[in-house]
Amino acid sequence: MPAGIALSDFYYILPELVLTGGALLLLVADVLLPRRSGNALAWITLLVLGATAAALVPFVNTHVEVSHGLLAVDRFALFFKIIFLLSAGLTVLMSVRYLETEGASPGEYYFLILCATLGMMIMAGGIDLISIFIGLETMAVSFYILVGYIKPSQRSNEAAVKYFLLGAFSLGILLYGMSILYGLSGTTSLRAMATLLAGQERDPRLILAVIFIVAGVGFKIGAVPFHMWAPDVYEGAPTPITAFLSVGSKAAAFAMLLRIFLEGLPTMSADWRLLFEVLSIVTMTAGNIAALTQTNVKRMLAYSSIAHAGYILIGVVAGTARGVSATLIYLFIYLFMQLGAFTVIAVMRRRDVAGEELKDFSGLSFRNPMAAFAMLLFMLSLGGIPPTAGFFGKFWLFSAAIESGYVWLAVIGVLNSAISLYYYIRIVVFMYLKSETIGSEPTVTAPLALVLGVAMVATIVLGVYPRLLFEVAEASARTLGGVAGLAAAIR
């Protein structure tokens, strides 16, 4: 492996550089700008994210490995980077009023959001265990702080400590798995590993490594039985961070998962597919059943988010191009519906009301019809009812499962989505069918309205005319190394 980094490498990581520079700029701005200029900082953050997105444009058709195989710049990474930037941008918009209400300082907050986004982008591009781990750590550390950002709140502090301890533990397990892989193959590069490890499928050490990595990744995506942190953390964290965590962090973890297993361990597919199949079934079933009895909407959405990790794993289990594209499509759609739902919760947060309990939602359709309608849309979409985007997400996941012969997995999946509708509809019942009202009127500020608007339009448009998304996702999935090979191996 030749030493040194070529100048062209810097060109290919331009988006990451822009993001890093922008984040530093934001820190400086925070010092220079007068206090109480949260709006200005939010705008700078959005500008940085926009510039990063613009910097992605030259690489739409690029397909190269950078820095001697540390990072890949391809459509697959691009697709995820768009998800991360969108979710970060919407999170920032969602945060403006939230930070004001909570009285938290905005400077570091937005900086950490940018840092987390940077980590995610590196995770999606990483094709080497080292770069993936660096990305993961960058993201995780940012989130540890963000989760506990509301300093006076005991819930927030508790969530942060829980998340930190369990997160550190799971990272240890993941790292242990990675070190076994390195020990067996002598390389950290995923693509080299795939060839080097061929023919050693029955090596118990390798199987152990797979189990460890599955456990580590399972923590990040919130799969049962590694989900224990999720409900408490989601409930305690500031609502915009909960949204970002459940969308961005989850998507990044799935990007990492697909990279490691499809690029690095395609030969072990029989083992990890079995593991993920079991995880998927347990995760969606346990998540949905636990969600049924929740009365705190944030917590309910936490369990629903766990269940959704289970659905998305179906695409991974299928492992074909269709499976991977279904995963991408679902994560993209999930971004809007999940962020949208959390935005409604953020709307409900007023000085006198936490706005997270089911009863806070009662009669919302009378008090704020737009917010109620938005929530209705997101709930139907999360439940997979057409003509919302969620339907096509689920449709494509289940079809990937059936194509690969996992019919029972699909059956369990659809039954679960039927179960899940019960609790999604429960929120609708409170909003539309009950009329007692509590506390002051929830109001929608312009940034929140923008988030809701974007999420609603995306949920409807992708639910009626998903053509473009399907095509882009399919093209992106095909650039992931290992997909074609694995598909051939299955046949």
């Binding site: 997979g384 003509p387 079809s399 659809v414 039954l415 039927a418 509809i425 019942v429 539309y432 998903p466």
Partner: protein, 552 residues
């Protein structure tokens, strides 16, 4: 007229969008917009009756555009005789449902009509779609508005009934989706093309094993909707608690989704599995007929009685269908229309007294014919139509079903006949308890008779009931190609054998059916029992309007 079907399909949706712009305080304007939309929707669909060519090819007014090319899903609409009639039924019932809500709905009026109109588009889309994915989309779209119609504007137990309806239907339909996907991938493995084209699916010869599983998946989706025993338990609750217009739409149109699904998808795409499942389907249908009727007989709640009568009638429809011969299937389709007309009307009838008295307890009523003579007359006609009295629509449907069933298996026909007898029993018992006798409850003494608006909701149904009862030939003629197409797939050896029995000529189903009906009408003064049955053969009498003078 390339976009004729789209025009019919989206008219209600456009109306719903217009309603969004009307301020919610202006209830009169909202009502007018909704009524005008629904009426225009109905008027727009009328040319379908005339422009549809019964002798023409399979599907007409076809529209096709790429929707999600990478999946192979198209925006693909088209109608045959079966869907033409169901679409007309839908637009008519939609119009009636909207009109009937004028006074009944006083709260959240705007949302109510928006949901009603969205529902209308969903139902029309399901009947028009020839792309399976598009069909499923519309199929599921119907759920949410109906959920709200029951949940917000329903009566006492509405939350429970609404969620029950929602979850039952949903579980059935998601399983159906898996069946669709299995079919989709099988079709791809044979043709090499990813497509949800139903007309292509109907040409496939799916292996028996796969057919069996797909049939089961479809069965769960459709049987819940029909509803067949033992998946019927959502229906009495949903019907009872829904507002009148909701019950009307539910009974008249939404239940037909299930039977339509069987006819359009299960039978022609999965013929071998269909034949294999006949014993189960027939058994469930017969249980539905008898059980529904017996439970109806025991009801104390007017609306619940009508709801259970639906279970029984839909059992008849399914029985006729699974006789798997042309007469049976034709009868089944005609009976679907009849059920839409008569049960829709019966729910309207309950709704009218409920609006005046706010109770559905049968014991609260009695002797209404003295106070509300016009109402009682309409009720009488619709009761007779439901029972299947000759000269009214119900008779034609029941006769054809009995005839088809008799040809297939005489024991089945016996049970079907028993269902007809029981049907007469609970309907007449209902009529007697509510309409005859003295007005014993002082609250009933000053009930108002039908207003002009209310009568207007019944008028088209009355016309249709007599038209279909006296001269069903135009309806039968439109169904001919559809039925032959289904039979050609599902019961291939039926046609030649039948032709031989008919002296070498193979008269069309319509001719056979119409002739038999006409002959039966004129010659046998039949009581409501529908027995004894004539042999199912046709002569060469041209289909003519049935002679008048059928016993009343």
């Amino acid at each position: 007229m390339n976009h004729y079907l789209s025009l019919i399909l989206f008219t209600p949706l456009i109306g719903a969008l217009v309603l969004l712009l009307v301020p919610k305080e202006n209830q009169t304007a909202i009502r007018w917009v909704a009524n005008v939309t629904a009426t225009v929707g109905f008027l727009l669909s009328i040319p379908l009756w005339f422009w549809f060519n019964p002798q023409g090819g399979d599907f007409q007014f076809v529209e096709r555009a790429a929707w999600i090319p990478s999946v192979g899903a198209d925006y693909f609409l088209g109608v045959d005789g079966l869907s033409t009639l169901l679409i007309l039924l839908t637009t008519l019932m939609g119009c009636i449902a909207v009109l009937s809500s004028w006074n009944a709905i006083t709260e959240r009026v705007k949302e109510y009509y928006i949901f009603l109109l969205i529902l209308q588009t969903g139902m029309l889309g399901a009947f028009m779609s020839l792309d399976f994915l598009l069909f499923f989309l519309f199929w599921e779209v119907m759920l949410v508005p109906m959920y709200f119609l029951i949940g917000i504007w329903g009566s006492a137990n509405r939350l429970y009934s609404a969620i029950k309806f929602f979850l039952y239907t949903l579980v059935g339909s998601v399983i159906m989706l898996l069946g669709i996907l299995a079919l989709y991938f099988y079709a791809h493995s044979v043709t090499g093309v990813y497509s949800f084209d139903v007309t292509e699916f109907q040409k496939l010869n799916v292996p028996y094993n796969l057919q069996w599983w797909i049939f089961l998946a479809f069965f769960l989706g459709f049987a819940v909707k029909v509803p067949m025993f033992p998946f019927h338990t959502w229906l009495p609750d949903a019907h009872t608690d829904a507002p009148t217009a909701g019950s009307v739409i539910l009974a008249a149109v939404m239940l037909k989704m299930g039977t339509y699904g069987f006819l359009r998808f299960s039978l022609p795409i999965l013929p071998d599995a269909t034949r294999a499942f006949v014993p189960m389907m027939v058994l469930l249908s017969i249980i539905g007929i008898i059980y529904g009727a017996l439970v109806a007989l025991a009801q104390k709640d007017w609306k619940r009685l009508v709801a259970y009568s639906s279970v029984s009638h839909m059992g008849m429809v399914m029985l006729g269908m699974f006789a798997l011969n042309p007469v049976g299937i034709t009868g089944s389709i005609i009976q679907q229309l009849n059920h839409g007309i008569s049960t829709g009307a019966l729910f309207l009838i309950v709704g009218i007294v409920y609006e005046r008295r706010h109770t559905r307890e049968l014991s609260e009523y009695g002797g209404l014919s003295k106070v509300m003579p016009v109402y009682a007359a309409v009720f009488l006609i619709m009761t007779m139509s439901s029972i299947g009295l000759p000269a009214l629509n119900g008779f034609i449907g029941e006769l054809l079903i009995l005839q088809g069933t008799f040809v297939a298996n005489k024991v089945w026909a016996l049970f079907a006949g028993a269902g007809v007898v029981l049907g007469a029993a609970y309907m007449l018992y209902l009529f007697q308890r509510t309409m005859f006798g003295k007005v014993e409850n002082p609250k009933n003494e000053h009930l108002l008779d039908l207003s002009h608006r209310e009568f207007a909701t019944f008028a088209p149904l009355l016309v249709l009931a007599f038209w279909m009862g006296l001269y069903p030939a135009p309806f039968l003629r439109r169904l001919d190609t559809s039925v032959q197409h289904i039979i050609a797939r599902v019961n291939r050896d039926y046609a030649p054998r039948n032709a031989a029995a008919d002296c070498g000529t193979a008269p069309t189903v319509a001719v056979v059916a119409a002739n038999t009906a006409a002959k039966f009408l004129t010659s046998v003064p039949c009581d409501a029992n529908g027995r004894p049955l004539p042999a199912g053969t046709g002569t060469d009498i041209p289909p003519a309007p049935a002679a008048p003078g059928a016993p009343r």
